[in-house]
């Protein structure tokens, strides 16, 4: 009797041990994969955050340096008429290059993500992308905009747009995402009429219907644009 009791206890213990191993293995396998994914993802996110902080710091430094240079140039211009004439020329060129803050009549355009459509599967068409921003900016320039900023980033003659789904990278700035706010100074009536035209911005309009992408705009008697705060270097270009 005592021996049978011992045997049954031993059998239960052996089964429990095997079960324990199996459960521990399963738990380990399921826990480790997500934990590693999270750690890897978090490391990447931290890198992005660090780089964005360095990016913001550099842009602040550039804005400060440009202000200091402008002040030094103004000092020099005060001592010479020829320097004054040169400074006026440069001031006009800087304004057209987006290097100085502007204001005037214009429009404000808001663009925001829509909602995923079940029929569209994994497509990211409901997200605002860089081509949407590029299309709006090009339309506004074609309709008389004299200066444009996107989420506070000034567009320059060298501006380039890039980015993956839902991310909009403009020049050397950090990625922007929905909602996108485009402000343009210029012929406000012409710009509003162009934005109102159903045949303009066909890609965005189609996704407004399919994904409820948000596009709104309003004319204003006075909107303000900040100065460009990034690089305008052209190391490979030489005057003829």
């Amino acid at each position: 009797m005592y021996r049978r009791q011992l045997l049954s206890i031993g059998a239960v213990a052996a089964v429990a041990l095997v079960m324990g191993y199996l459960v521990a293995g399963q738990v380990k396998a399921q826990l480790l994969t997500p934990s590693n994914q999270v750690a890897r993802y978090q490391a990447l996110v931290r890198s992005v955050q660090d780089l964005e902080a360095a990016n913001a710091q550099s842009r602040r430094q550039i804005a400060t340096l440009r202000a200091e240079i402008n002040a030094l140039e103004t000092d020099a211009a005060g001592r010479s008429a020829a320097t004054q004439a040169l400074q006026n020329q440069v001031a006009d060129l800087r304004a057209h290059a987006g290097l100085t803050a502007l204001h005037g009549p214009g429009v404000a355009v808001d663009l925001a993500n829509g909602v995923p459509a079940p029929a569209a599967g994994g497509q990211a068409s409901y997200l605002v992308n860089f081509q949407d921003v590029q299309d709006i900016v090009n339309l506004l320039f074609a309709q008389g905009a004299e200066g444009i900023a996107v989420n506070g980033r000034r567009i320059t003659p060298l501006t380039a747009y890039s980015g993956s789904a839902g991310q909009v990278v403009i020049d050397q700035g950090p990625p922007l995402s929905s909602p996108i706010h485009v402000v343009a100074v210029g012929d406000r009536n012409r710009m509003v009429a162009a934005l109102d035209d159903a045949s303009a911005l066909p890609g965005i309009r189609a996704r407004q219907v399919q994904f409820q992408l948000h596009l709104t705009f309003v004319g204003s008697p006075d909107v303000a644009l900040p100065a460009y705060d990034s690089s305008l270097q052209i190391p490979h270009v030489h005057a003829i």
Binding site: V27, R40, E73, A76, D135, E146, D171, V185
Partner: protein, 230 residues
């Protein structure tokens, strides 16, 4: 002899209850950790996937390097102005004016770059805008299409007669000339022409990298009508 149920001693019963509670607690802990870690993965991946993050890091590195270079250039310019030497300000301003004229497309320029030729039927203004933006994102510093200088702000529009740059129709084949880092632009041009060749509307798309290309066309200066300096 009777076989009546005999209760366990009080000490053994307490130990068993504690064991059961400990096991329950352990199971709850493991389950919580598992559920939370899964939820964290799902939540963190909602915004952007790891591949896109890696590309973003690469782009930010390049952007920050460019910003550093601009900072160094501005510091040198400030130092020149601070030196107060005769003519220092005039030289800085003249250099700046020449640089800005090139940036704004107001002056003829030359330098290393690529020339892309696209022979197609039915390409639209959006196609040309995308091509020019791809090159700009790839480091183009000056661009022209069929002899028309293009900078951001120059209108590229669809008209009844075809694609127009600043009101002038540009017919196929499009010859896109661009100046910049020739290696980087060559890579971009290679990808672009591959993609274009796969497009049914495109008969041929080729590119060549050149040590020196000229862009003699310029855009007309447009004085501001509405904008006022702040």
């Amino acid at each position: 002899m009777s076989t009546r149920f005999r209760p366990l001693p009080r000490g053994r019963s307490t130990a068993r209850a504690i064991s059961i509670w400990l096991i329950a607690l352990l199971v709850a802990l493991v389950a919580t950790v598992q559920i939370r870690s899964q939820a964290e993965v799902e939540r963190s991946l909602v915004g952007i996937d790891t591949t896109s993050l890696a590309f973003l890091i690469d782009d930010l590195h390049r952007a920050n390097d460019t910003l550093q270079s601009e900072t160094a250039d501005l510091q040198a310019r400030r130092a020149t102005l601070q030196s107060g030497t005769s003519g220092a300000a005039d030289q800085v301003l003249t250099d700046e004016a020449n640089r800005l004229r090139a940036i704004e497309g107001l002056a003829p320029v030359h330098g290393p770059g690529v020339v892309i030729v696209i022979d197609a039927t039915g390409l639209t203004a959006l196609d040309l805008q995308d091509a020019i933006n791809n090159l700009a994102a790839g480091g183009a510093e000056a661009t022209s299409v069929n002899g028309h200088r293009v900078v951001t702000g120059v209108a590229i529009e669809q008209t009844a007669s075809g694609v127009a740059i600043d009101g002038v129709v540009v017919s196929s084949p499009w010859t896109i000339t661009t100046i910049g880092d020739a290696i980087r632009l060559g890579e971009v041009a290679n990808l672009m022409t591959q993609a274009l060749t796969a497009d049914r509307r495109v008969h041929a798309a080729t590119y060549r990298v050149e040590a020196d290309v000229e862009i003699r066309s310029v855009v007309s200066a447009r004085p501001f009508v509405y904008a006022v300096g702040s």
